[in-house]
């Protein structure tokens, strides 16, 4: 399987960097960066306070830091993660807790996520779900923002739903609900934006004056 397996046992604390080749099984506590070539498993009861990098990451314990997998990141039941998750494939099982940005991109995992990346996920076939092409064009920018915003949530849901088919969970599949969500919300956003553009913008300064006047009045009293 791998050239070596390292185990950080249940009653062991490591303060510092853990690097090298081979697999790593963390059952204890690691405070510091973990970067190995093989598979990293953070077992239930295991805890990592730092970024974790590996070919495959499987988390059943707690991680406070970013998870970067060159191949796949799997958050299983019992996982508690506060940090960003980036890998070509990301799976989040039900029962896993996650707070952070998820970037599941089979194309290039090392790329820094941007709003444009999320927008480009929407292929022409999905434009059919939008009411009109014009609306979707209008809503391109809001859609990107929306996608970036709902990214982790949508991926989370996708991972949870497709837990049973875990090995076959791939980036595009994980992205699909997110993209559809983005497209539909974009359509809504586009519609409201359109309507808002025809109307005059709400008065800002008069209301400020009014507010000031009230303050002045109050002072006078």
């Amino acid at each position: 399987m791998a050239e070596a397996t390292a185990i950080i046992g249940r009653a062991t604390r490591v303060q510092g960097r853990v690097t090298g080749e081979g697999d790593l099984d963390i059952q204890g506590i690691v405070r510091g960066e973990v970067a190995v070539g093989g598979e990293v498993t953070v077992d239930s009861g295991g805890m990592v306070d730092g970024n974790v990098t590996g070919r495959k990451l499987v988390v059943r314990g707690a991680v406070k830091g970013d998870l970067v997998g060159r191949d796949v990141v799997v958050l299983e039941d019992g996982a508690r993660v506060v940090g960003d998750v980036r890998a070509p494939r990301v799976a989040v099982a039900s029962g896993a807790l996650l707070r952070g940005l998820v970037e599941a991109d089979p194309g290039d995992a090392s790329r820094v996520p941007t709003a444009r990346d999320h927008a480009s996920v929407r292929t022409p076939s999905r434009d059919a779900t939008a009411p009109s092409r014009a609306a979707s064009l209008q809503a391109r920018k809001p859609a990107a923002k929306e996608a970036a915003h709902t990214g982790p949530v949508a991926s989370h849901a996708a991972g949870a739903v497709s837990h049973e088919t875990l090995p076959s969970v791939r980036g595009p599949a994980a992205h699909a609900p997110q993209a559809v969500h983005a497209a539909s919300s974009a359509a809504q956003g586009g519609a409201t934006n359109h309507a808002g553009a025809r109307r005059a913008p709400p008065p800002v300064l008069p209301s400020l004056k009014r507010a000031r006047g009230q303050i002045v009045k109050k002072k006078e009293r």
């Binding site: 070596a4 397996t5 390292a6 046992g9 009653a11 604390r13 960097r17 090298g20 081979g22 070539g37």
Partner: protein, 104 residues
């Protein structure tokens, strides 16, 4: 089997503190604090002060060693540092440079 294993190819830079057995086959730089047995296998490199219950050294160790029970330097081991333990054995073929304090 030991509960904590630092396999070959793995490097730890920092401090390891454990209440269970520790086997080092890779590289450790920093400090090791253990209550039970610590085994530094042949091929392992440890540049750290090591504290443990009993120590078995077959690899390369640079640093001071304190054991509550015993320290065994095996043949092929290479150690530079001071040893403090109730019992110390140095096997024929072990390289060693340092002070030995056996609580006499």
């Amino acid at each position: 089997m030991a509960s904590t294993v630092i396999g070959t190819g793995i490097t730890i830079e920092g401090e390891i503190a454990t209440d269970e057995d520790l086997v080092v086959a890779g590289v450790v730089r920093g400090k090791v604090t253990a209550k039970e047995a610590v085994t530094i296998e042949h091929g392992a490199t440890v540049e750290a002060d090591v504290q443990g219950g009993s120590l078995s050294i077959g690899g390369s160790l640079t640093g001071n060693v304190v054991a509550t029970d015993r320290v065994d330097l095996q043949s092929g081991a290479r150690m530079i540092g001071n040893v403090k333990a109730a019992r110390v054995t140095i096997a024929d073929g072990a390289q060693f440079k340092g002070n030995v304090d056996m609580d006499v």
